[in-house]
């Protein structure tokens, strides 16, 4: 069994390297992707793109050799060294430039995660196994096709599961489906305070007393059909409270009323009813 697994590793490692090279050589966002990687910090921003392309060339060459040669031991040894280099580079990137992107299998900005390191370690193991027990993958597949395909599928699943850049293709749709089936955010009801504050801030009453206000919302309470929102205010140098009355059933800013009450005497120094509906043409939107 171990001979079969070892013989199939050039196919797995070769496919991963060619796929990685495709991103570095053919993707039109390669320049941006290179600048986002830790290469820009390691060797300088000007040399990041040439180094990124060069790495893509090396990956393509090694990947092609692994896929095409019958028992590619030297290529497997070189791939092992390259994978060890990846592991070291990703470890460095994670410590030295945690905000940098992996730049591995996609040009999508993907921080170096623990999964990326495990994937690099898996690549080291796979390439190392191919170097220790070289074999021809077409022969192995022809001899035991069932077991061979099972091994390949398992390894491909492991690579995909360990690739954060591929999450958008399978993990997010699965999570979306689960959310659609279970609807975990259900249950919100009632008129949030923010809706009333937005209504207040759009109102003519607020615009007229705004220069008096000193604080953000200090208190709020509901009473019958009304919600009251209180701010600290100053009126002619005296501490006061500006209280807005917002109807809970009418979302029109024009319905907001306000009073400014002197804190010391309790006397209403200013009160404004809503300004009524604004004059001028009004656009009524009728559902089609």
């Amino acid at each position: 069994m171990i001979d079969l697994i070892a013989a199939l590793q050039p196919l797995v490692v070769g496919a991963v390297l060619v796929s990685s090279a495709r991103v570095k050589l053919l993707n039109r966002h390669a320049r941006t992707a290179a600048q986002r990687t830790a290469l820009a910090r390691l060797i300088g921003p000007n040399r990041a793109l040439p180094a990124y392309r060069l790495l893509g060339g090396v990956e393509l060459t090694l990947g092609a050799l692994l896929l095409l040669l019958p028992a590619p031991r030297p290529a497997a040894v070189a791939a092992t060294a390259l994978a060890v280099g990846f592991l070291g580079y990703l470890g460095y990137a994670r410590r030295a430039a945690p905000a940098s992107s992996c730049g591995c299998l996609s040009s999508r900005p993907t921080p170096v995660a623990g999964r990326s390191l495990v994937r690099a370690a898996l690549l080291v193991a796979a390439a190392g196994l191919a170097a220790l027990l070289p074999g021809a993958w077409p022969d192995a597949l022809a001899t035991r096709p069932g077991a061979g395909i099972a091994v390949l599928l398992a390894e491909a699943a492991a690579v995909v599961a360990l690739s954060p850049e591929l999450d958008a293709a399978w993990l997010l749709p699965l999570r979306r489906l689960r959310a659609r089936l279970t609807n975990p955010l259900r249950g919100g009801s009632g008129l949030p305070l923010l809706a009333s504050v937005q209504q207040v801030q759009l109102s003519d009453s607020y615009r007229r007393v705004a220069p008096l206000l000193r604080s953000d919302v200090r208190e709020h309470w509901d009473d019958g059909e009304w919600r009251f929102v209180g701010h600290a205010a100053r009126y002619q140098g005296r501490p006061a409270t500006a209280v807005f009355a917002v109807p809970l059933t009418d979302l029109e800013p024009a319905a907001v009323r306000v009073a400014v009450v002197d804190d010391a005497t309790g006397q209403t120094v200013l009160a404004l009813a809503g300004a009524g509906r604004p004059a001028g043409p009004r656009l009524d939107v009728v559902p089609a």
Binding site: L185, L194, F244, L251
Partner: protein, 198 residues
């Protein structure tokens, strides 16, 4: 408590009562408002009336706050100070270790007499990585943040329309902006408002 109820009854009656003192609005013209802001800050200079940092000590109504630039500030909470901690709340909810933003007026001794204090407030641009029961897992620049939905407090603003309590239109993978209250020294927040496209 009866005092609070009496006060609220007084304020409610004032707000719903008749129109009083409309002539007093003469001083509220835009010119007067802008004139009051004449003491502007020089460009690039720190705003003397703003403080941010974490509370290191609370004595009476005085907060000692260590700013992120390691400057120590003292902030006085007055009867007129508004305190936000996920929602408008009271001074007894403020704890040592909380982060805050405060705005107010500098007193001659350097203390900031706070008009408004926002405790543990955070403003994040993130992607929704996953949703759970009353929970959003946010991906914020590669870091995972757990955002709790607080029933009766959390609101959503979809496409800039008025806020609603229903967060069920949020979708995994979408970009959101979240205003919330941080749980100090964790990667968790409570959601105040989430802005999203729907």
């Amino acid at each position: 408590m009866p005092q609070t109820l009496d006060r609220r009854r007084l304020l409610a009656t004032a707000a719903l009562g008749g129109v009083v003192g409309a002539t007093g609005l003469g001083s509220l013209a835009p010119d007067a408002a802008f004139a009051a802001e004449a003491a502007a800050i020089e460009p690039g200079a720190p705003d003397p009336n703003f403080v941010e940092g974490r509370i290191s000590k609370i004595s009476g109504h005085l907060l000692l706050v260590l700013g992120s630039d390691t400057v120590l500030h003292s902030i006085r909470i007055t009867d007129g100070t508004s305190i936000w901690k996920l929602h408008p709340t009271t001074f007894d909810q403020v704890a040592i270790g909380d982060g805050l933003y405060a705005r107010g007026v500098r007193l001659p001794d350097g203390t900031l007499a706070a008009d408004s204090v926002w405790v543990n407030i955070v403003n994040l641009h993130a992607h929704i990585a996953a949703v759970g029961r009353n929970l959003l897992h946010l991906d914020h620049k590669g870091q995972r943040i757990v955002a709790h939905v607080v029933q009766g407090r959390s609101a959503a603003v979809y496409n800039g329309t008025p806020a609603v309590s229903d967060l069920s239109l949020l979708r995994v993978g979408r970009h959101v902006q979240v205003l919330g209250a941080w749980h100090p020294d964790t990667n968790e927040i409570d959601i105040a408002t989430v802005y999203a496209a729907a």
